[in-house]
Subunit: 637 residues, 2 copies
Amino acid sequence: MASVSHSNDDANEVDVGSQSSSHRQTNNMQYVHKVGVPPKQNLFKEFTTTFKETFLADDPLRPFKDQPKYRRFILGIQTIFPILDWGRSYNFAKFKGDIIAGLTIASLCIPQDIGYAKLANLDPQYGLYSSFVPPLIYAIMGSSRDIAIGPVAVVSLLLGTLLQNEIDPLKNAAEYRRLAFTATFFAGITQATLGVLRLGFLIDFLSHAAVVGFMGGAAITIGLQQLKGLLGIKTFTKKTDIISVMRSVWGTVHHGGKMQRKLFWVPAIAPLISVVLSTLFVFLTHAEKQGVQIVNHIAKGINPPSVHKIFFTGPYLLKGFKIGAVAGMIGLTEAVAIGRTFASMKDYQLDGNKEMVALGAMNIIGSMTSCYIATGSFSRSAVNYMAGCQTAVSNIVMSAVVFLTLEFITPLFKYTPNAILAAIIISAVVGLIDFQAAILIWKIDKFDFIACMGAFFGVVFSSVEIGLLIAVSISFAKILLQVTRPRTAVLGKIPRTNLYRNILQYPEATTVPGVLTVRVDSAIYFSNSNYVKERILRWLMDEEEKVKAACLPRIQFLIVEMSPVTDIDTSGIHAFEELHRSLQKKGVQLVLANPGAVVIDKLHASKFAYLIGEDKIFLTVADAVSSCSPKMVEEEV
Amino acid sequence: MASVSHSNDDANEVDVGSQSSSHRQTNNMQYVHKVGVPPKQNLFKEFTTTFKETFLADDPLRPFKDQPKYRRFILGIQTIFPILDWGRSYNFAKFKGDIIAGLTIASLCIPQDIGYAKLANLDPQYGLYSSFVPPLIYAIMGSSRDIAIGPVAVVSLLLGTLLQNEIDPLKNAAEYRRLAFTATFFAGITQATLGVLRLGFLIDFLSHAAVVGFMGGAAITIGLQQLKGLLGIKTFTKKTDIISVMRSVWGTVHHGGKMQRKLFWVPAIAPLISVVLSTLFVFLTHAEKQGVQIVNHIAKGINPPSVHKIFFTGPYLLKGFKIGAVAGMIGLTEAVAIGRTFASMKDYQLDGNKEMVALGAMNIIGSMTSCYIATGSFSRSAVNYMAGCQTAVSNIVMSAVVFLTLEFITPLFKYTPNAILAAIIISAVVGLIDFQAAILIWKIDKFDFIACMGAFFGVVFSSVEIGLLIAVSISFAKILLQVTRPRTAVLGKIPRTNLYRNILQYPEATTVPGVLTVRVDSAIYFSNSNYVKERILRWLMDEEEKVKAACLPRIQFLIVEMSPVTDIDTSGIHAFEELHRSLQKKGVQLVLANPGAVVIDKLHASKFAYLIGEDKIFLTVADAVSSCSPKMVEEEV
């Protein structure tokens, strides 16, 4: 592939370049290399490579390589049920960590579940149901060691909002519940399908910034809604936007509603203790008769089956599917973000697609056992981690505690005041408002900050769906902007080196008279090919004006530095052909520097390399410059 | 910005690197430069720059710069009506070219217009109307010198298909016409709005490949439909897909329908002559009584006003808007592609957004004067160019000829046989099938070829809308793939240079023991940050396996070459933090080479630069390598 220039007859320009450069002190180019053309791949191999990078990017089949058949079978089973893998090395030391963590998250989850079920407009026991079955399924199928599974605030709110747009939960509670199970079923189907088809990367399109804004907005909304429980307001708005909530609160305050303001400052550091104490207090003082609102009824016993309640036909099928798909995606985003964070902290691998299959299976089974959508909870997973959990067994412990609660203790929750649940939820969601992340986003990327704020204000001032829509739209707009308007830069030579860099980044870099070097910072595709062409011509026009004003030699060579141009398509080739034609009319020679493997391949396939001349393509900008204007370079040095 | 390493106390690694490299023969690094941090821009300036690059990329305000007020006003008027600019230097020499070109395209457009109107299910005169008013408006407002304006085959077919889904053109011709004008009005509004808001880049999302496929498919479909006129079949299918057309043709052939097979081979090189001759022939022989189908009726006189026919209220408003928006976008794509091609051939600038305003205004006025959607025609623009047109005056000449035709000659078209019109249309659309372009696309980019074929088969086997949808979807999928799965490459040192390049492109390049150098070929955004992190870790894992197998020193340094990483966002920074953490656990040091202006800025803003150590960021891979493992490099050399 390499060709030493002295033995290369048709590369005259290169010869001149290397001769001139050999006069220079800072020379390192005794041998001039040509741009390499990668060995031709056959079409099938190219296709399988692309397919693999797209869908099997994390190389999930690696452990299966070079294994006998029966071993592959075992590995396959273990892939679906990781418990069979880690369970074999499970020991008492790990169990000690798991039981403490499990009991801790159970004490946190029980009051949270009761509260979250109300966010989803469901009776309190459905929250507990969702903390019983799903964690068990996840423990068998999931691969995160730290995630705590169960209902979460944001998904509960989103589900509640979307469902009540369709069915009134007060007037038609049975139908509403059926739609909730239908949505849960399809949330599971969506999650599992994305995982099986290995399309998990789709959730990456909800950017970190958008999630921060969305979570913050949801937390504010939930917090405001909880003022209802906390202040004991009866005629509360069903709408979730800040204006109607504030108006409703204000109206109540104004008319002197029944308030337990004293509870507003109760710190929720030990939710279960507060629940027990307050329940005891209400029971003993009969405060419910003085207007303190209480849970009132909570069914005893474990999850009843609900598969017959799912709408598999009729108009609610499609609605349930839509709601489930949206809520399922949000659930996924939350669970995968948590899973990845803790996996990276403890340094173990997590297959996002496998996680999705586990979460999907868990919600599908959940929808058949009276659960609504469960996912990984931020607050409880953090507690789980800090309490020293070792494996998913902590979820099993939690599940067992919830089972005992459902079987024996639930009737005692009758006297639990709603206000204490509200306070617990508020203290849980406050943790979702991540000021520091927002500040960091502002510092790093203003566009990200717009996405973040768009999601935040969308949720706060309109609704969770609108916030979500804004977040996704801004994220997509960013991608489109990226592929439509790539950056370009004029390069200059850094003194005493052979390096050419952006003159805005390196103000000491100097341009070579008669030569304009432009770098294009993106693959050149149909979406930007025209822009790139016009932008390069604009750089040239600007430079020509400057040159004319300063009476310098006119631009004779335009070098396009192609290092960041990772790919080019037919539109891009066309744009270069047009650029070449325009430049020819102006008497400017187009020169390319360092095209990559894919690009050089396509430049040859399209004959563009022959159009401008193969000797006009160089390995480095320095080579290109020295071939363009050897005398000028020498003068400069 | 530059710092000479010998005077730099805290850059120990750099010192070691440069000392070791000074022992080498091929050294050019007597002075080691630090990565430049660009001067801080203020927020407002950053915002205006981004805004300008996005919406004013072609710098339309350049001529207005440094001009007095009244001059700016004149320039403004000239920008809207370019005729005031070029009209002043218009002369007889140019007129000579324009009149010949104008007469030529008029002779081509008259029979085409009559045929195309039938594709849109409109009476023949509406085609002629659309070649009278719109070219005049365009001549005043447009800036392309070569485009020939009027009805075109693909848009006529698309409009006809979309309109007849709503209203039956045979049973309800008046309503159908009203909807056609409504669609034309909104096509104009869409086009003008895109231009005024400078959102013209949106049409770039319909890639060249998709357009080639779409045009080819539309040409096949139109050609097959024209068999109807050519073969004189009466009971022809209204559906445009290939199977129903073939079945219909086959049925007719089978039953021995009335065919004028002799006309099938009439070459359509001189369409008007064939029209005149065949019309005369029919008139003299009264062949229409022997079953030759003729135009029969064509109204005399110029365009009647139609502004009162546009649906500004009612259910057809929205339908008209949707159809108009789609057909308008396709019309734009065609016109802008033609405009750009000829502008680049004659080397003049064409402002795409300004063109859109002109086309939009032309269609808005057209919709009020009984025209349907007009745009630039491929076949007639090419003829216009070859006949030596100089300015848009050729469109005025054509328009004048159409005016005379409408006023005096139309009744004579009564005896024109439909078959000759069909033959003319077929010969016009055959030019739209661009085999060579398709072959080139196959050679250059397989993914583009899929988009091309998707659009082609979508149109041929289903309908124009489906074909369009497929084309746009595949184009978007390509963009998503690009931003989700960027390429990465392992770099090696090209012998006897300081250059590090993709080892697959340069097989002679050698890797440095103990150091893995990976290049990421894309901006790192939320959509790919996770993939990039995992892919880098996978490269490391692969390399570690190889190293272990070959008993080489273990990998101690991972250099990420950042040259092509043009931007990074908060998710990207997070991914790097996680990468850094994972590498630390493995005892591998993360080193960065040549981050660009934006990236280094964000690495500092996020404190990531301090997290890995500022002395771990180098200007080149060579610097990074020599700092990493000075001894190893020396051993190698």
